[in-house]
Amino acid sequence: MDKYKLKNFILIMLVLVNIFLLFIVISNEIDTARLRKNREDTLRQILLSNSIELNGDVRLDSRALPEVTLTRSLKSEEQAVASLIGKCETSDLGGSIIYYDGAKGAARFRGTGEFEMVFNPDVIYAGSSPEYTAADAMKRLGFHSRPEDAEIQTGTEDQTIILNLTYRDKPVFNSRIACYFVNGSLNIVEGKAFFNKVVSKGSTDKLPDACTILMRFLEYLKTNQLSCTEITAVDSGYFAESTVVGECVMRPVWRISTDMGTFFMDGATGLSIQLDTRE
C-alpha cells in the first residue's frame, strides 16, 4: 500500500478512536456531575431537616487533598534568604536553627518552620500596596499567599500585614506571616511557614469528600449537642505540623464556617479536630 494511503488510514482510525474516547469521557463527566448533584441535593435536604441551611454559594466540588510530607532543604533556603538580604554568612546554632547574616538584613530559620527576618531600612519599600509587596517578598522565600486576603493593620508610622500562606493554592490554616513596615519600608517578617522539598505524598483514593465531611460534621454537632443554622463556607486546606525537627507534614483539613463559629475536620478521618492555630 502507498505509504501516504497508509498514513491517511491511520489518521482516520485515530480520529475515530479519539471521537469514541471523547464520547466516553464526556458521558462519564455528565454522569459524575449528575451523581454529585444528586448527592449535594440529598445533603442539603438532610441538613435542612436538621434546621441547617447550606449557603447557596458553598461549592462542594473541592477534591480531597493528599497528606504531604515535606523536608527542609538548607541549600534552597539559603538561596531564598539571599535573594532578599543579599549573600549571607550562615551560622548553625544547633537544633537545626540557622542564622543568616546578609548585607541587607539578618534572618533566623528554625527546623519547625518558624522564622524571623530583620531588614535594614529602605531595602524593600512598601509602595502603594504593601500587602502585594509583602506577598512578593514571601514568594521570593518560596512561600505563596493571597495578598487580596491579607489582614492590614495601620498605625501612625507603621503598618502590619498578616499573610495567610497557601500550599499548592490551598490555604494552610496555621501558617501566618506578619510583615511589619516602618516608615514605608519592610522592617521585620516573622511567622510560621513550612518546607518545600516533598518527601512523600499520600493517596486521596479513600479520603472523604466535601459531602461526606458535612455528614460527619452533622454527626459531630449532634453528638456534642451543638447547633448552627447556616453553613457559610466549606474549604479544603492544610495544617502544617512539625513533630520532628526539619520535617513537616501537611495534613489535609476541611474548614467549615458556620454562623456559630469555625470548625475543622480531619481530611483523612473525617473527624472533628481542634487545630492549634497559634500565631
Binding site: 544547633g94 527546623g111 518558624e114 516533598v198 497559634r278
Partner: protein
Amino acid sequence: MLSKAQKIFRGMETPLIFLLLISAVYLLLRATVIDTSDYIEELFSGGADQPASSSVSSTGIVPSYPFAIVLTGDDGSHSAVKYNKEAKQRVFSLFSATLGEALGSAGEAETIKESDWTSALEGHGVFFDYLYPLPLEILSTHLGAAMPSHADGNLIIRRLILSEREEKLCLYLKDEAQNAYYRMDTPLNFSSLNLSQRITDLALPEADFAFQRKADGIDPCFVFSGEDISLPGLSSSPISTGSDGSTLSLSTFRMNAGAASVYSENDGTQIYVEGGKSLRVDSSGYLLFAVTGTGGIPVGDSETSTLSDRVYAAGVLVRNTLPTGGDVDVGLLSVEEAESDGCIIYFGYYVNGIPVKLQNTDWCAKVRISGENIVRAEFYLRSYAVQSTFLAPLPENHAAILAAEEGGEPLLVYTDRAEDVTWSWILN
C-alpha cells in the same frame, strides 16, 4: 502533480498522527476513571523527592512519644496525659519539634541540685517521661536533631523538662545512670512554646507528682494523671510463619530464599541456613536469627557507626519482622553495652500506648550488634486484636498505695499470658 494544499497536508500527517496518539492515550486514561491530574502534576514536578536523610523516627520504632506528658501553667497547676494514646500523640506533636530543637541547640550541661530539678517540675514548663531510660543521643536523633558536640549524648535519660530561665527556654535532665541532675540553656525563647494558650486549648485533666502528694515509697516523679483509665480488651495469638515460611521474608535477614537450605524439626520448627547465617522459627512465634563466624546484617554504609545508626538499623529489622500498625506499636526499651564494640538493643510491644509484658520476658525483640553487623536477633511474633469490651483497671491512687508498700513506681501494663491478655499494675 500534487497541489500546494496536498503537500502541506502530507507534511503535517506525521505530527498529526503523533498528536492524535497522545490525545487517545490521555482520553483512554480519563475514560478508565484514572484521575490524570495527579499524574500530570507529578510528571512535571519530577515526582516526590527522596528523603534527604533518614532519621530514626522514620523506622516507626523507638519511643515515638513519651509515656507521660505534664504541662504546668504559670500558676503552677499541672495537667497531664498518660493513658490516652491519641491525646498523648496530639499533645506531643505540639511540643516534640521544640524539644528536638532544644536538645540540638543546648549549651553545656550544668550540674544542678535535686531541689532545682524539683523546682523545675513545679514551675511553668513541660515535663516528658519516656518510661525507659535511653541515651540522650537516641532521643535527640529521634526528634530530628543532632546533639551538639559539647553535649554529652551518653547521658541516660528518661525524664526531661522544658522550662523557663530568664525568658529563655532551658532543659532540665535527670541522668538515670548516675542519679544526677543537669540544666542546659538554649537560644530559644520560652514564649515559643506558647504554653499558656495551649494548656487552655488542650484542657487536660489536672495532675500532680508523687512528691507533691508526699506519697512515701513512690517514685517522687511518678505522675498521678487524673485520667479515667479505660483499657480496651485485647486478644493475642502467636504468628505462625507457615510451614513454607510464607509470612517470613528471608531477605529481611539478607538471606536468599533460593540459596538457603531448609530443615524441619518434629515440633514444626523450621530452620533456614545459608552460609554462616541461620534462622530458626518455631510454631509459638519465636524467631531466632544468628550468625556464626564473621558477617551478619550490616548496620550501615559507613565504616564506623554511631549509636543512632545502630538503633536505626535494629529498628528497621524489627519493623520488617514484627507486625505493627493500627493499635500496635513497638518501642525501644533499652540499649545495653556488650563486649568491647557491641551492644544489645531491646524492643517491646505497646498496644494503645500501654506496654505489653510477655509471659517470660519484657521484650519482644532483642538485637545484638557486634562491630558493624547485626549478628543475633530474637523475636516473639505476637498478633494483638483490640476487642469491643473494656477493662477497668484499678485506679492509679489504689495502685500507688499498693506500690508504696514495696517502694517504686506503679506501671500499668497489658500482660500477655498466651491464653489471654489482661491488665496488671507492676512495679517499674
